[in-house]
Symmetry: C2
Subunit: 299 residues, 2 copies
């Protein structure tokens, strides 16, 4: 079935303890789409500036992403700069230039509106809601968010939570949203706000999904050489949602399998800068890691 991905496209400046890169193609919807493209033809909705490179649109298309919903607006593409500490656990935002994102009003193309699976990548909850308004009868909608929106747009976010099937949060966001330090309790409280499922990401410690009668926990894939964690969360969401769209299902068994697929796509993402490590993988390589991961968790 069809997957609609709405979010940001960006150029990132990334500093790690080992290396630096400038003007790397990034953004939440970019990473998610590339990851999902291993499973389906994701439909991408976002905005870029006039400086967006043709080769980057070409790269997205070459990966099988439908870019018909990428709007080119007057001005510059969204830019983000960040620096990671050597232990990867701490990320400092060096700058955020919203540029064309500042006035982004998502327009879902007519022939994208019947999409059954929808991922609302990180954006202001108001933007996410306006995008969702344009989708006709979605089967399964998952949203991402970030600490900024929990801080400055909590009411809109809580409103959105009542309209979606699943929310993906990292540990810090879950604690911030609920004020609860215990992640199991925090996830339970988020469920009380409306969504049927909470996907809680814990970085190197893996992730779990919780629903009213479901709890499934998974370690991270044991990546030996992390080069750049940017986009890992979005790549997880892309593998997760791409797989659900592929099978056209969102029952507990397929949700569990989707957690493995998301973990695998995220594991490739962090092995180099940008989308290349994920875009260049063959399906057989993903399948091989899926088998490895299954071996690591099977009792």
């Amino acid at each position: 079935m069809s997957l609609l991905v709405i979010g940001t496209l960006a150029y990132d400046n990334i500093e790690t303890a080992h290396d630096n890169r400038t003007d790397v193609l990034g953004g939440s919807a970019t990473y998610c789409s590339i990851a999902a493209s291993h499973f389906c033809e994701p439909r991408l909705v976002g905005v870029v500036g006039e400086d967006f490179r043709d080769e980057d649109i070409t790269a997205l298309k070459a990966s099988g992403v439908n870019t018909a919903g990428v709007e080119v607006a007057a001005g510059k593409t969204f830019r983000w700069g960040g620096r990671y500490e050597a232990d990867w656990n701490t990320r400092h935002t060096l700058f955020t230039h919203l540029n064309v994102l500042e006035h982004f009003d998502p327009k879902v193309p007519e022939d994208f509106r019947s999409s059954k699976f929808v991922f609302l990548a990180n954006a202001a909850p108001g933007v996410q809601s306006r995008a969702l308004d344009q989708v006709e009868h979605p089967s399964f909608v998952m949203a991402d968010t970030m600490n900024l929106w929990i801080d400055i747009a909590r009411d809109e976010l809580v409103g959105l939570l009542k309209r979606i099937d699943a929310i993906v949060l990292n540990d810090e966001e879950a604690r911030m949203l609920t004020g609860e330090n215990n992640l199991i309790k925090a996830a339970g409280q988020v469920l009380g706000l409306g969504p049927r499922f909470v996907v809680l990401k814990k970085g190197e410690h893996g992730a779990f999904i919780m629903g009213s009668d479901m709890h499934f926990s998974l370690p991270a894939y044991p990546v030996k050489n992390v080069i750049d964690p940017t986009g890992a969360g979005d790549s997880f969401a892309g593998g997760f949602m791409g797989y659900l769209a592929l099978v056209g299902a969102h029952d507990p068994v397929h949700l569990r399998q989707a957690m493995l697929h998301g973990t695998v796509t995220a594991s490739f993402c962090v092995e180099d800068f940008g989308i290349e490590p994920l875009a260049q993988r063959e399906k057989a390589e993903l399948d091989s890691r899926y088998s490895d991961l299954l071996g690591i968790v099977t009792v």
Copy 2:
């Protein structure tokens, strides 16, 4: 089969953000034995002072622990005081009074020496080695250690690693022993020092076991109300080793199952102070949590 547990018996003073306790029966071998007693009749070797309470020996015996190897020495029982931060991640040692432990020379009773499964709970590596010297033909020996010994007795510890089948370390200890931040790499380096398996504990993030051709990862059991984490690691080891002793096997399949049993015994341990929350459980309660945990990790 038989399980021999060698380590400390102690009286602990424990401070948490919610409550305090003094003179709580504790110690590495105590927690391990109580956990293992749900699976087999552990043989306990350790030393206590003349102040050790009769009721505590009675409690150990009532749980099915063979206390014939508990030596009563002139002086006071080992005492430890600690305080936990509200997030449980930070533990401060308030005091350590070695007392009778200072001159502890383990004496394994004659009829314990044929034990097939051996757990060398946290003690000086020299003490652990001298205990192991007295065991005739063990099938599977696991040892625990701590940052202190990595710091002041590294050579003895490295020597011990060549003589044992498995070492259990927490994340901090693994990083300290190897100088490697990535836990997967750190575990691989520990394997290079001699043991066939490394069990790496990550607290609320679960644990993994790694061997030359084995890697199994498991989340922690989702405990909703942690009251006191003291003894969790030793309770894990007790469930792990007790189960292996019960089945008389240490092949990869049983090692994976042992990881679940250890996780379950640790989950009961943290639900109150001391050994009571673990000692008072019926086997059916352990089985129920084992099933829950299996449900949480089964794809």
